[in-house]
Amino acid sequence: MILHTLLDYDTLRIIWWLLLGILLVGFAVTDGFDLGTGTLLPFVASTDLERRVVINAVGPVWEGNQVWLVLGGGAIFAAWPQLYAVSFSGFYLAMAAVLLALILRPVAFKYRSKRDSIAWRATWDWALFVGGFVPALIFGVAMGNVLQGVPFRLAPDQQIFYEGGFFALLNPFAVLCGLVSVAMLVMHGAAWLVLKTDGLVASRARVWGIRAAIATVVLYAVAGVLLWGFVDGYRITSAVVTTGPSNPLFKTVEAGVAGSWFANYAAHPWTQLAPAAGIVGALLTLMALVRRREGVAMLTSSLSIAGIVLSVGASMFPFILPSSIQPQASLTVWDASSSHLTLFIMLVATCIFLPLILLYTSWVYKVLWGKVVPGDISGGTSHAY
């Protein structure tokens, strides 16, 4: 096959770096409101019927939303194999915790309302909270650790050795990033509930959404200041080869470069749009919730999430996963990707299927448009949860 040479290797790497961002944003914006809704469940709903309203607000769509995570995992495996290998084995116990939480979630959705017992339902409600809160926190904590560099080294044959423990992940900056993640997803979940529900549930969600939007702005700003002041970045010191083989050990890297995570914003001012969107989106969400513009709140909180996720990528480019103990082994856009041919094949597959996915997902959301009201649940004929 020679078709793949139509696109240069470095162009494909950039495209796949952008697609990685799009997939993360896709996951955070769609499954994000499911996670936020799960986290909010104990706080916005007290009676059984209210809880079922909340659960059914995400009931028909969470399965499709979660596929963004499945797809993200698959796409990282296919397009950035070494990133997949290092991050999943390095964050082993954290990933296992996410998995255990995410196993509980679908089962809780399906099984909760299948028995009348109050204890039964309370147990699954708790599972839904864990299934929302734990992944939201851990994904943020992981991002916080990536920004600081992760203690892994690569042997010459590319065997991976991770030399940090689970509790080292829970350092102050990383936990702060975890809280940013929880705050933004709770804001997003609240915006969804305001849109999809009525009455008490909606008004409680509105209050929590306002609180979460404020928390998002404050925590994200603090994280940014700390990143500037206390988190040193990385810099490639050898000549940058953008089309070479994907072997991280072919370059040299300097660690502990103060302010290097902000160099891209100075060199390419348009990248400042990402953090700006993170802040402005959350502020607009705050205003929209205060003024009861429910549809707007959903859009602006999506904007905020996209901005926050993309700002991590923009800060670090071309780094994807820096190594704190062997800086040379840091994974970058230029040396952690799949082969030229695989990136091309995967791009073709994405160009065919991603538009289709967006098309039928929109159709499904359109069919399901409208508020979930108690009547649907207590008297409806659909198989509501």
Partner: protein, 536 residues
């Protein structure tokens, strides 16, 4: 199997995969059966078919939930526990997994919500389309997963790149058209259809025995028996061992399944019974059926099936060739990546690079395969023999059950055609007690395919012992225990819910007439009256 990190990681992968494979085949088949039932409903307009669709849909939904969550574990585990594997073959193996997400899983998971929630929001034909898209997604999903798995068994269309130290795709078409993947897809999907068919058949038989929901039960049995007969014929006739001999990599698996220690003149005999003894390299008390093995394995009377001893000799040759390739690879890597590789060195590497994996088998015994002693090389060659006894028995259990399913579904197909489904209560009892059997056959099939692949993660390319992540034993033990506990609890919960849904039976469709409301599954009258609720 030693309980070191490799052993524990294998155990965790095997347990989570076997568990995942309890739910997935059922959803594969049930999605098709549901789609068929709904099609009949839309074509005839008779509401009993809608009732059937909904009832079996509830059971589908209970299983789908666990299938989804355990599937996520499968996908993440490659990176978590098999990081060198992920690096080494991600360029090839990752693509089908990602395309599965793009093409199949999105379709399935997006429409499954609408299947349950869309009855009142969609027209008949729209809802039918949703159901078919869901079933299509489920089956496409199996296709891509088995393309990935097929490549583990028969890794074609890729070569090792010394600069990146990993396998890279050279011919994606070959990866897609892999004969092993094709055979596996048909075989595995058919097995899923059999599981679903016998599930529906058994539950419906139970209703008939109890005299409940008779109309629904009879119609369900008719669909299940005909679908199941076609599927169980397809499982056996298009069994995936048909791909074994077409590809050179699977010879050892076939010989191990047969407990065939020495090469026999063609056509080889089938060992119907016996006790394989790995150390003595013979099968005690063997009962042979002449010719049958040659026919099953090669579909011919003249092609020879090589025995284990000859294959070990071949493996030893390959280990030695692999060491040559390994030496050349090290020299290429010592050049530092950017310097040009001398053509003579490149040629020396390429001559034996296809069997480089055999040198990696030595990594269990020595860091640098070039330093291996003759004894270690002989041991590495011996290591290429999988555990014969479990393969031998699993295969016979699977085949025996497969034959039984053909008979069972044929009998019910005939009874259904004669309109005498309830004529023989003992047959209905057989159908009820047969519900678990196809699961046993499917799990046995997984053991044959994957235990038979050992000691390789990627047959002939990457040994399992090298593929594993460098984790601590306690770390892996922690997650292993976590998964076992959680999965056990979930299995108990899901069985209870299934029994409850089956005991409750289908909802009364008359209640769905406009203006009336039916009670929801699990909603008591108190819960339907909002002001009365004080659940907290």
């Amino acid at each position: 199997m030693d309980l070191d990190v490799v052993g524990l990681s294998r155990l965790q992968f095997a347990l989570t995969a076997l568990y995942h494979f309890l739910f997935v085949p059922l959803t594969l088949g049930l999605s098709m059966l549901i789609a068929i039932m709904e099609t009949v409903y839309v074509m005839t307009g008779r509401s009993i078919w809608r009732q059937m669709t909904k009832f079996w849909g509830v059971l589908f939904g209970i299983n789908f939930a666990i299938g989804v969550s355990t599937g996520l574990v499968m996908e993440f585990q490659f990176g978590m526990n098999w990081s060198y594997y992920s690096h080494y073959v991600g360029d090839v193996f990752g693509a089908p997994l990602a395309i599965e997400g793009l093409m199949a899983f999105f379709l399935e998971a997006t429409f499954v919500g609408l299947f349950f929630f869309g009855w009142d929001r969609l027209s008949k034909v729209q809802h039918l389309a949703v159901t078919w898209l869901m079933a299509l997604g489920t089956n496409f999903s199996a296709l891509w997963i088995l393309i990935a798995n097929g490549w583990m068994q028969n890794p074609i269309g890729a070569t090792l790149n010394p600069q990146t130290m990993r396998m890279e795709v050279t011919d994606f078409g070959a990866v897609l058209a892999n004969p092993v993947a094709q055979a596996k897809f048909v075989h595995t999907v058919s097995a899923g259809y059999v599981i679903a068919a016998l599930f529906v058949l058994g539950i419906a038989a139970w209703y008939l025995l109890k005299g409940r929901h008779v109309e629904l039960a009879k119609r369900s049995m008719t669909v299940a028996a005909s679908f199941g007969l076609a599927a169980s014929l397809s499982v056996v006739v298009l069994g995936d061992e048909s791909g074994y001999l077409a590809t050179e990599h699977q010879h050892m698996k076939l010989a191990a399944i047969e407990g065939m220690w020495e090469t026999q003149p063609a056509p080889a005999a089938f060992t119907a019974f016996g006790f394989p003894d790995q150390n003595a390299r013979e099968t005690h008390y063997a009962i042979h059926i002449p010719w049958v093995m040659g026919l099953i394995g090669t579909r011919s009377l003249s092609n020879q099936i090589p025995g284990i001893s000859d294959l070990v000799k071949l493996a030893e040759v390959r280990v030695r060739q692999g060491i040559v390739a390994y030496g050349a690879l090290e020299e290429i890597r010592a050049l530092g990546g950017r310097a040009p590789v001398p053509p003579a060195l490149q040629a020396r590497f390429e001559e034996h690079s296809a069997v480089l994996g055999y040198a990696l088998l030595l990594k269990r015994y020595v860091d640098d395969p070039r330093q291996a002693s003759d004894a270690q090389i002989r041991q590495a060659a011996l290591d290429t023999v999988p555990q014969v006894a479990p393969l031998f028995w699993s295969f016979r259990i699977m085949v025996g059950l497969g034959m039984f399913f053909i008979v069972l579904t044929a009998v019910f197909f005939w009874l259904s055609a004669r309109r005498r489904l309830d004529a023989y209560p003992w047959l209905l009892k057989v159908a009820v007690w047969s519900i678990p059997l196809p699961w046993i056959a499917a799990e046995a099939g997984w053991i044959v395919a994957e235990l038979g692949r050992q000691p390789w993660a990627i047959e002939g390319v990457l040994p399992t012992a090298v593929a594993v992540s460098n984790l601590g034993i306690q770390t892996v033990l922690t997650t292993l225990i976590g998964f076992v506990v959680l999965y056990t609890v979930l299995l108990v919960v899901e069985m209870k819910l299934m029994f409850k849904a089956i005991g409750k039976g289908p909802e009364d469709e008359l209640a769905h007439a406009p203006g009336t409301h039916s009670p929801l599954v699990g909603t008591t009258p108190a819960m339907r009256t909002a002001p009365m609720i004080t659940a907290e």
